[in-house]
């Protein structure tokens, strides 16, 4: 039985489940885009190398990055 947007002119051409998948993917894409924009706006990508040191804590003695030979 056709469901939702599957009615009408698209009935039998576009599967209703395809519409569901597209809606889910679109929502996911919006979510991902929003996450990326949010990260950029809060300065996550500026001075990013500073974040490399977040892995260290009081257990460690991190040294500055060394250039590969």
């Amino acid at each position: 039985m056709p469901i939702g947007i599957g009615h009408g002119n698209f009935s039998g051409i576009v599967s209703p489940v395809a519409i569901y998948i597209l809606a889910i993917c679109f929502a996911g894409a919006v979510l991902a885009g929003a996450a990326f924009a949010w990260a950029a706006l809060r300065g996550e990508f500026t001075d990013a190398s500073q974040a490399a040191y977040l892995v260290f804590d009081d257990e460690d003695e991190p040294r500055p990055p060394e250039h590969a030979p």
Partner: protein, 479 residues
């Protein structure tokens, strides 16, 4: 307890950092141990089932009197035990342990993580029981019946809530790259799991959704969490930051953009629109970008420090896993090409590739992670370092034999199947020696897991000698 300073501070004073780290570790201890105990148990159960399935190629009449021991059910039980029981539970345990340390905040509501671990175990137990009893959804990676899937949906939700709220209460300004991967995995996995289990798909759409899920369960869940672990452990053990932090972010975002489309390459030759498969092949090849970014970063971080592999079990396992990640990913990109897939499709070659990724990459990194984390949870060093060497070489030797056998045997199988002059019986015969080698490799891997499980049991039960120094650390200062 030291008063916490201003929020969003990446470099707190040492005494504050120590206080926050202790608080973070204390909050995660119980749930992480529960995840790890469960994971190790499922590893052994899943490995036994895998070996039973493999041995059926040598002894086809063995264990055939009862339906639950037939190949179709045992092999499926193996997949679910190792994918959802071992890998997922161990990776979640690692993530739950890592995140509070990386964001310098205690785990939010540890009881939720505990409940998630209990629920996840129930899901795997009931799911494998259902599969062995013959109740299955009949879709690869989605065999567990969807009423049982509801348990893991709730458990996963609780666990994701706990982790996400911990990050929301972070005290760091930036996210470390491992946090990116964990956050993404916690969002991606519920989306793909719930979507793929909706009972609304049928026919070709079901096949497409099936492989969209199957490949993303590896790429957006197991791979994401495994890379998060490697990005944490390699700099940590070396006491040296990752070579290029910016490159690590390129790797993350490139994986986020390209991976989700990969799965449809499993349907090459199937009744699926050609454009859909072509898009998937393109995305599969584009995966070279995040893989190269990650491989270059790990390698250049390791340069000049490879000697540490002799003195750190964690580094040995994780670096081996990272190298095999590169190998498995490049192989996957090549395997997705139509000309190659024409030969490898429906052969043992694909099984070899899957094990290179799930075992050589993810499981090896997990072993390294457990060797690093468990001593910190139990405040005790591993009692018998020699067992770790046995574990490492049995696991590495096992996967090497397994992969080589199925790659060569699978390729021959594919070529012979394409030759109309060859009978099906001759195709079966040409694979026999390689399938025997596969069982040998599987036996070595099971032996490795038994050694590891025994050592883990000694560790948890506080048996065996008490050691003051970390395993393999002898002669470290001199080297």
């Amino acid at each position: 307890m030291t008063a916490l300073p201003l929020v969003f501070e990446d470099t707190p004073p040492p005494e504050v950092a120590a206080s926050e780290r202790v608080a973070a570790d204390r909050s995660t201890r119980q749930p992480v141990l529960l995840f790890f105990h469960s994971a190790v148990t499922w590893l052994v159960i899943g490995s036994v089932m895998g070996l039973v399935a493999s041995l059926k190629f040598q002894f086809p009449d063995w264990l055939t009197s009862q339906a639950m021991w037939t190949f179709g059910r045992v092999r499926t039980a193996h997949l679910n035990a190792v994918a959802y029981g071992w890998a997922s539970m161990a990776l979640v345990g690692v993530a739950v342990w890592m995140i509070p340390r990386l964001v310098r905040a205690p785990l939010h509501r540890p009881v939720f993580a505990m409940a998630a671990a209990v629920g996840w175990n129930l899901f795997v137990l009931l799911g494998i029981g259902a599969v062995l009893a013959g109740w299955s959804d009949g879709l690869e990676w989605l065999e567990i019946p969807y009423p049982i899937d509801a348990i893991v949906a709730v458990s996963g939700g609780l666990m994701a809530f706990s982790v996400l709220m911990t990050v929301a209460r972070r005290r760091t300004k930036h996210f470390y790259v491992s946090v990116w991967y964990v956050l993404a995995a916690m969002v991606w996995f519920p989306i793909i799991f719930v979507t793929a289990n909706l009972p609304i798909f049928g026919g070709v759409a079901q096949a497409a959704v099936n492989w969209w899920y199957g490949h993303n369960a590896l790429g957006l869940w197991i791979t994401a969490l495994s890379l998060a672990t490697a990005y944490y452990l390699i700099p940590k053990v070396l006491a040296r930051p990752i070579r290029s932090y910016s490159l690590s972010l390129v790797g993350f975002w490139a994986l986020a953009f390209f991976y989700s489309l990969n799965g449809i390459h499993h349907l090459i030759g199937g009744p699926v629109p050609t454009w859909l498969i072509t898009v998937s092949i393109t995305a599969s090849v584009m995966m070279v970008i995040p893989v190269a970014a990650t491989a270059v970063n790990f390698h250049t971080t390791m340069i000049g420090r490879f000697g540490n592999l002799r003195h750190s079990p964690t580094l040995a396992f994780v670096v081996a896993g990272a190298m095999l990640y590169t190998a498995a990913s490049v192989q996957g990109s090549i395997e997705a090409l139509r000309t190659v897939n024409r030969i490898t499709h429906f052969t043992h070659y694909t099984v070899g590739h899957a094990h290179l990724g799930a075992y050589g990459f993810a499981t090896m990194i997990l072993f390294g992670a457990l060797y690093f984390i468990v001593p910190r949870l139990l405040n005790r060093e591993w009692p018998l370092p020699a067992l770790i060497r046995w574990h490492f070489w049995l696991a590495l030797g096992g996967i090497a034999i397994y992969f080589a056998a199925l790659t060569i045997g699978g390729w021959l199988e594919g070529q012979w199947m394409l030759d109309p002059a060859k009978s099906f019986e001759s195709v079966v015969n040409v694979t026999k020696a390689y399938l025997l080698a596969r069982s040998v490799g599987g036996t070595l891997m099971l032996a490795a897991h038994l050694v590891f499980a025994y050592h883990y049991w000694l560790m948890v039960r506080r048996r065996g000698p008490e050691r003051a120094e970390p395993a393999w650390s002898e002669g470290r200062a001199a080297s």
